[in-house]
Amino acid sequence: MSDNLHLLTKHPQLWRASYPPSTDDVTKVASGFALLDDALGGGWPTSGLVRLRSYQGIGEVELFLSLLNNIRHQRLLMFINAPGHIQAGWFTKHKIPLENIYALSGDHDDCLWAAEQCLKSAVCQVVMLWSTRCLSLTQARRLQVSAKQHHSTCILFEYEHVLRQSLPVELDLSVARAQNQVNLNIEKQLGGWPRADIPISYSPIPTNQPILSAFAHYVAPNAERTKVS
């Protein structure tokens, strides 16, 4: 019995909490945020299902920018059931070539089918899926296995109106934004410990800073002049 147990612990897929964070078997892409890379054991995983829960419009896609910038020539980036029409300007701004980006839409079941087809075809490197309903365990498992087998990443976005359920994923995240930074929680990750409240500062919008500084610059002398007169 103990012999069998010993054999089991030798299995390369098995990770025990007492082990150091496993980094050797999965290739990772640095996220561009040092604190996050540290917590994730190197960066974003390049295969498997990643879930992110957040409110809509907090820069949830931009968080994965390093992953999108890392897409190889001839491989595709799919947006499935995105909450609006995706804009070419955004990709041009971030220097992501447009010709390999596709957006699909359809009902819930069609979208899941499409996501699985994309992951299985080995031509998609990143599949971004917006789910309007909670995925069942089987559905999530299917996506995770297809992504893992074909070395592609599936990012599942769930907004807060979707009921939260525990799913078999590679990495489970939740994000909340406060002004110029987001607080990221790692709820669950394969081969690593959960972490809470990792501060990451980035902003998906331009600032009014140039205008404000110009105001400050020109208003001050003007104010002096009014005093004089």
Partner: protein, 465 residues
């Protein structure tokens, strides 16, 4: 058996249009001198009232600035082989019907694509990429599909009864029968295909020759005449014949580029590289000239070969006008292990074609789109118009997602950025005058909002994902 017949009814125009810009801005016809017939005409010539089948005098009287290009059968046949080679990786059973048609046998490939619709979508995608216009139809034999394609059926049907029904609607002039045969058929009271198909072959045999009988049995799908399938060439050799004679060297470059692109596809399919190419220039009056272009290391991509050819062409002086350009490979070699990247791209290309075909078949082609940059600041316009020239600088304030319908802003929000005033579109009736702001709600959501005049309400136009 299920055959698809593709009739490229304006192949010469389609082939020349990407390079010769005047074909897009001037009325233009393809004219066959020996029969005095207009064979193909572009959209502008159509608008002037020119139809194919007209004589030269009539066409010339309808349009003053007509651009006339001589029809050459060989030119079309050459381009047909290019199309067949492009389709060959997707479907193996191709029969050439020169000068301008292809017959594809669909039934053996259906199972690889998991259905007829995905297969058809994949074929459409490739034809769109090749920028050709075509008429098509399916039938149980090449002959029946051809009749339906000539009758402009333009639908994919697989059921025998449906094909039979569609065939009965066709006129005799869509068949391969000669006018003499059609008149003699009408003399015995056969005016349409329906009555022709209804007659037993033995009855017809008494009056008509064997060729007609065997054509009819093939049309009915009772006998399948022997056909030779298309096989791509072992070595690359292609010739291209522009519609005009080239006397300035810089005009050679776009045509050479097209040949290089064909070469790149050819080599990619065979997993090969080549280190030297032969460029042949054919002149109107003097002997052809041959130039060798070599590279230090074996190459395959058109973008790598192009600079070498540009260097060669810059040095040339053309003593006579060039009428045709040829390109062939001298020796090819297999790709070695060190360039395994190349091999993976090859797989991805066809996997991509297959995936897109399958997705379009299931979700509907309208539910799949690509972001395209266009020359317009209006955000809603970006969503559904086709790609054209890009704005010189992407706007930093544009959001990732644009709502298909503006949403009412209901949550209290803070302005973070703005205003950006947009006043444009006065020329096409969809004029826009708005001040855009970026706001943030208490939950941290960034949205692009504007105030709309009628009710002075705030609307959300997009989100910053």
């Amino acid at each position: 058996m299920l055959w698809l017949y593709l009739d490229f009814y304006q192949l010469t125009l389609d082939m020349l249009a990407p390079i010769q810009t005047e074909l897009r801005v001037q009325p233009c016809i393809i004219y066959r001198a020996d029969t005095n017939q207009v064979l193909q005409c572009n959209a502008l010539a159509h608008a002037a009232g020119i139809e194919s089948g007209m004589g030269m005098a009539q066409a010339a009287s309808l349009s003053g600035e007509l651009n006339i290009i001589d029809y050459k059968e060989q030119r079309e046949a050459n381009h047909l082989t290019v199309l067949a080679s492009a389709l060959y990786p997707l479907i193996g059973d191709i029969v050439l019907a020169p000068p301008n048609s292809l017959a594809l046998r669909l039934d053996p490939s259906i199972k690889y694509y998991e259905g007829l619709q995905p297969l058809w979508q994949t074929i459409i995608n490739e034809l769109t990429r090749q920028k050709v216009t075509y008429r098509f139809a399916t039938g149980w034999s090449i002959e029946s599909a051809k009749v339906l394609a000539k009758a402009k059926t333009n639908t994919i049907i697989a059921k025998r009864t449906d094909i039979h029904h569609a065939l009965q609607q066709c006129h005799l002039k869509h068949t391969d029968l000669s006018t003499k045969q059609i008149t003699s058929l009408s003399r015995v009271g056969i005016h349409n295909i329906k009555s022709l198909l209804a007659l037993p072959a033995t009855e017809l045999g008494k009056r008509f020759d064997n060729a007609l009988i065997s054509y009819l049995t093939a049309l009915r799908g009772e006998v399948f005449p022997h056909c030779s399938y298309f096989h791509p060439e072992e070595t690359f050799s292609a010739t291209i014949e522009p519609a005009y004679e080239i006397s300035q060297t810089q005009h050679l470059i776009p045509w050479v580029n097209r040949l290089l692109n064909q070469l790149a596809t050819f080599l990619r399919l065979r997993n090969q590289l080549t280190a030297s190419l032969t460029l042949t220039l054919y002149f109107r009056e003097t002997e052809k000239q041959i130039y060798q272009v070599g590279s230090a290391c074996p190459l395959s991509k058109a973008s790598n070969w192009e600079p070498l050819f540009v260097l060669l062409i810059e040095k040339l002086t053309l003593s006579h006008p060039v009428t045709a350009i040829g390109l062939c490979t001298n020796a090819t070699e297999e790709i070695s292990d060190q360039s395994s990247d190349f091999f993976s791209d090859r797989v991805h290309y066809f996997a991509k074609m297959q995936l897109l075909g399958r997705l379009q078949a299931k979700l509907g082609a309208s539910n799949i789109c690509q972001p395209a940059s266009i020359n317009d600041h209006r955000l809603g316009q970006l969503a559904h118009t086709q790609a054209s020239a890009m704005l010189s600088e992407p706007c930093a304030w544009q959001p990732l997602f644009i709502a298909s319908q503006p949403v009412l802003l209901t949550q209290p929000s803070h302005i973070q950025f703005g205003p950006v005033r947009l006043q444009t579109g006065w020329w096409d009736g969809e004029s826009v005058k708005r001040d855009y702001f970026i706001t943030q709600t208490a939950r941290g959501e960034y949205a692009l909002v504007y105030k709309s005049p009628p009710a002075e309400q705030w609307y959300i136009e997009g989100w910053y994902g």
